[in-house]
């Protein structure tokens, strides 16, 4: 059951268009949401409660991570 101000129609608008090129992975002890690109993965989101993790330039959203690392 949802308790939200967003109408149900908007929430479930694109139900069938799920992206399959997005993965969640743990790198160096931190959780990332990555989008697969040709030869690398692009960082979309970092899940961490440590504010210092967000200051690290290599973890910034938009940065890419090598295939080999994963």
């Amino acid at each position: 059951m949802l308790y939200t101000i967003i109408p149900y129609e908007l929430i479930f608008e694109h139900r069938d268009n799920t992206k399959d090129n997005i993965i969640e992975i743990n790198i160096e002890g931190k959780m990332f949401l990555l989008e697969k690109e040709e030869n690398s993965y692009k960082i979309i989101r970092l899940y961490s409660t440590n504010p210092n993790d967000y200051l690290e330039t290599k973890y910034m959203p938009g940065n890419t991570i090598d295939f080999k690392k994963i």
């Binding site: 059951m1 949802l2 308790y3 939200t4 101000i5 967003i6 149900y8 929430i11 479930f12 608008e13 694109h14 139900r15 268009n17 799920t18 992206k19 997005i22 959780m31 899940y47 409660t49 440590n50 504010p51 210092n52 200051l55 690290e56 330039t57």
Partner: protein, 233 residues
């Protein structure tokens, strides 16, 4: 006058910094470990149902283990909760809220932008709550679209679900049940719905949130709570 000598610096950090500048053209980040962790709750709270990708979500299964880790880690002294949420799953929202309210470490929350619907129990779950002057909180009844079986039991079920939320908010804030129910069932405020929008200070006037303030006030309060807890020991 004291003159600062370069030799006073520990040689190891000096070379590490120099190496970094030489090879990457950048310096290391200051080696500072924060004793305050921050939990950002944004978009929809996602529970049992995976929401389509256009929704920005905060997932139950990410947050709960993080809260357990925060409770267990002796280096973390306090938790700051940043809220900008439009609501979401009732069970997941209440689960996260109960986890936050039962943490033994000091917790402070800030409502930034919005803390609507299930964001209300999340905002009040901390030891002390802040709202920035421009943030809003929408309080409205639970509703459902789609196929509903039209029997009195459905109404009872709705009431029960709503009561779980109301009970949690009353238990964790200074607002009285009557006042909260009045806000929830008010007509004439929202264009197509029953309920109320509270802006910044209004939430404090009703006793829902403790204080109007931003990051610096929240961090100060958190540090004060941490100190109080340490002194008690």
């Amino acid at each position: 006058m004291n003159t600062f000598k370069n030799d006073d610096l520990p040689p190891q950090t000096n070379t590490a910094v120099q190496q970094n500048i030489q090879s990457f053209g950048q310096t290391n980040l200051p080696n500072f470990e924060s004793s305050i962790h921050c939990l950002t709750i944004i978009g929809q709270i996602e529970g049992h149902l995976i929401l389509p990708p256009q929704n920005k979500t905060t997932k139950y299964e990410h947050i709960i283990p993080q809260l357990v880790a925060i409770e267990e880690n002796p280096q973390i002294k306090g938790l700051l909760i940043l809220l900008n949420t439009v609501g979401g799953d009732v069970e997941a929202g209440l689960a996260i809220a109960e986890m936050i309210s039962s943490l033994s470490k000091p917790t402070v929350s800030i409502v930034l932008g919005g803390g609507h619907s299930i964001g209300v129990p999340l905002a009040v779950s901390s030891n002390y709550s802040f709202i920035v002057p421009s943030a809003t909180m929408t309080i409205h009844p639970i509703r459902m679209t789609g196929l509903v079986i039209g029997v009195p039991q459905t109404f009872d079920y709705f009431n029960k679900m709503q009561d779980r939320i109301v009970e949690f908010v009353i238990r964790n804030s200074r607002i009285k049940r009557d006042a909260f129910m009045n806000l929830m069932l008010k007509i004439g405020e929202l264009a197509n719905d029953v309920g109320t929008i509270l802006v910044g200070k209004e939430a404090v006037d009703y006793g829902l949130i403790d204080e109007v303030g931003g990051v610096s006030e929240a961090i100060n309060k958190l540090q004060q709570l941490i100190k109080e807890k340490e002194n008690k020991r």
